[in-house]
Assembly symmetry: D2
Amino acid sequence: MAHRLGANQYGKAECRVVRIVRDTPRHEIRDLNVSTSLRGDFADAHITGDQAAVLPTDTQKNTAFAYAKLHGVTSAEDYALALGSRLLEACPAADAAQVRVEEYGWDRIGDHSFVRRGGAVRTAVVTVGHDATHVLSGISDLVLLNSTDSEFKGFLEDEFTTLPETDDRVLATSLVARWRHTDADGGGIDWNASHEAVTATLLRTFAGTYSRALQEMLYAMGSAVLDAQPGLAEIRFSAPNVHHHLVDFSGFDVDGLSNDGEVFVAADRPYGLIEAQVTRDGAAAADEAWLAVPGFC
Amino acid sequence: MAHRLGANQYGKAECRVVRIVRDTPRHEIRDLNVSTSLRGDFADAHITGDQAAVLPTDTQKNTAFAYAKLHGVTSAEDYALALGSRLLEACPAADAAQVRVEEYGWDRIGDHSFVRRGGAVRTAVVTVGHDATHVLSGISDLVLLNSTDSEFKGFLEDEFTTLPETDDRVLATSLVARWRHTDADGGGIDWNASHEAVTATLLRTFAGTYSRALQEMLYAMGSAVLDAQPGLAEIRFSAPNVHHHLVDFSGFDVDGLSNDGEVFVAADRPYGLIEAQVTRDGAAAADEAWLAVPGFC
Amino acid sequence: MAHRLGANQYGKAECRVVRIVRDTPRHEIRDLNVSTSLRGDFADAHITGDQAAVLPTDTQKNTAFAYAKLHGVTSAEDYALALGSRLLEACPAADAAQVRVEEYGWDRIGDHSFVRRGGAVRTAVVTVGHDATHVLSGISDLVLLNSTDSEFKGFLEDEFTTLPETDDRVLATSLVARWRHTDADGGGIDWNASHEAVTATLLRTFAGTYSRALQEMLYAMGSAVLDAQPGLAEIRFSAPNVHHHLVDFSGFDVDGLSNDGEVFVAADRPYGLIEAQVTRDGAAAADEAWLAVPGFC
Amino acid sequence: MAHRLGANQYGKAECRVVRIVRDTPRHEIRDLNVSTSLRGDFADAHITGDQAAVLPTDTQKNTAFAYAKLHGVTSAEDYALALGSRLLEACPAADAAQVRVEEYGWDRIGDHSFVRRGGAVRTAVVTVGHDATHVLSGISDLVLLNSTDSEFKGFLEDEFTTLPETDDRVLATSLVARWRHTDADGGGIDWNASHEAVTATLLRTFAGTYSRALQEMLYAMGSAVLDAQPGLAEIRFSAPNVHHHLVDFSGFDVDGLSNDGEVFVAADRPYGLIEAQVTRDGAAAADEAWLAVPGFC
């Protein structure tokens, strides 16, 4: 029986690159988690053990740190584009380099002092090939909650259905969203302004939408983003439905104690998981932009 | 500007199903983490908010628990096949149901007493469609280490290369592997015996292979599994290179203190990440079997 | 050989209590993780199995949820005081009830819409006894970084010392701090204002202090808090030294590439861990306030 | 207002020390997570910033790695005793050194090949002072489950009680246990044999005990250990009650479907948390042995 090597990639994951800009006494900080992958003709490394074509993951790591200085980090996307281009060039056997970045925000508390912001993480996935380059901007761990204006009813029932219909529930999610820029090389894009604008649209739409299901909310958010950002081809969501169960006070022997949507238990598991894509009509697909991106979106 | 709904799926993630079989005083336990997803024509739920076609994730959860009794859990795969078929049938708008299972092992310490085994987790991903069914068996968190018989040299160098070549290093990984059964419905397969056999081949190959790179080790492991298991079409790996750096004793002022491959620091981040597929020649591809499976493999 | 039961306590840990105030269309949210413990004479439960004196952890949980409505949550401390008093009263065998609260912040994005803030977590540990009540306010996961004005030199050396002295390094920590209020019952304390004030002092002191060691920074922060808050008896810190190692560019073959405190790798493990207490002269000690509080402080 | 420095300690946490013994082709592996702390007169470091008395945490780390070779790792306790003695000697300002070790088990799959065992973690906390030395051996993440022979009834009720009494439930915990050796220096103790014996007693007692509460189970386990091991002075437990809720099938419209203790949902949060100590009558207390040990026990 003969076998063959299928798709493969390799790289260095989770380089924790912290870049301080100290050109003036008022320092700046960019705090990144950088992962790189190379794809291409690396069959020898797998089959015969010959490493001649392999740019080691250690070198990829070194390059990631060096480029934080040589190129700088004005944005996750810009840095990833430069790093991806360099890695592709440095490794002739590769036909694509992917750079994945998570960026953690910090708030200033002094000229050279910062407190980590927490909350949502900014993400970028850049895939640089010989023929095309793709940029996915994104956000993860964006935890959103509406305390009303959410219903869930009129659903399909079968013999295992016990969920009551509801006109008023808490809707909460920890959103992962990624959106693809049409102009893959991103020539003139202000990445920071673009990211800020998309995030603002996501928040505004979440806050302003009455939802009959998390699905409807995601579609509304995706549509709003594509409406507001003509430079985007598509947006993808992975959205756990973080259940907030109304606590049942009916068994307590306390006069007048009721729970009209006021006290909930936030559940860990299980959780609903809704995943969806919204695509601009006529936008060209780009499967390679999404290759090996964790999750559905 | 018009938009359209792209690919989407929804379901309940991480139902922690514990099944006790207590037909005799000597109980059995199966401990599962079950996630389900439905795919198909759910556009109304997203676009108009109409939930008529939606089998709620709560009902999917109920069904997952009920099937642990109604169908039973002789293996993760068998249970997932039954549950997936049920969900597909119960939801006419769906054209596929995916069930993902993680199983945690327990060791017996008494007739009705158990201690959780820890270590590797058994996995199964079953996708039931109207036309085809696919079964991926797998394992995750399989942490392997060779304390010698691993080298890394002869690699491509550039101006950022600082890694010295080595003839003798620790090779360690926390393996995720998934393998696809050719006979998708798995008619006569003994899932437990099959899983045990593949795992044994993975361990034996890891222990018996001199490796010039983690890539070569993965290809050897994949080939050995396909050789030994004619019923498998392909196997996919995601393998972090868990770096064990030799600690440098040269700076210590202690006579005779040396470190000949004896003391290592196990690093957290960054880590190499090698992902590869090994495919049987002539096996039909089955992209839908891998849709939305986290990670590269 | 005879044995005896030593210290013991029991309760319900990590009740995820979410309280929505919806008296007006502009809702409020308080998001808590609540743990309770009872201490006292529960020897029968341990030794003979008689549960007559035991208020079940399930009832403690129910009470925690009910009190979010019955008493309300104007602050973590106020809620914990009420809940602790109730639990002590409900369980005659108990001589103390401890309530531990973590509170997660949310930012408003609409009248009934919120985004989770992330970052530091507010904490409270309240111990209610028959004779005395103690309140520890606190903060955890407060990640702080100074990009200069930190040195480390003049330390003790031995034959295993390899660390070079430095005049300029990044100082970063993920601070846990807890401070004890002198007036244990907290009669007239505005808990929210007090917490805000202490946090502001911690940030301002961190940003404004040149430090010769993390130890000195902690003492400065603790002293500043006690100076500013006469109502506090003591403050305790647990502070990992989150190492930011300067990346060595000297091995790269790139003209002019240097690293003057600009590019760092943020390390995971190991990390320094500095723990210290600062106490107001003359303040009475209160060991029972700290009993079973995780960590050193 | 004057303040003073209270209790304090400092050290390096979570050194991931991997020791390979390769004296013969059949290698051995010991895989440790080592944390060290020094206590004593370090007021200058806190108050004036003078580091002259401080043995840096970096040096403590170096020593931890060097001692894996210089002294070797025949057991966590023996290694920690040697390392603690060295650190105390190397730092004249210290009056005690504490070494905390977690050890991860590996199973052999070849002469130089291993698979990580998972499951329970072996622990040791050694405190070396000028006058006394204390050794706590222990185990954590020991996940145990009895599928019957557990009841919970006859408990105290109040107006918030809704829990029904039960004669038959699943009892599960993820145990942390630590036991203190009377002979603190542990002259002639075979640490590995002792640890194995205590663990065996814990498992055997858990499997063989009918329990009316987790409290009773802990006391039974503690008593059995002290009975079997005359060299131990006390044992302490921290035991979450990992709730396995019986799934309610009564709402399903399926003829004959019942749930007689067969299908459970394993809950994450909240969980009961039972903490207790069992002490040998007449054994001398040793508070300093437990100082800064995380958790109640």
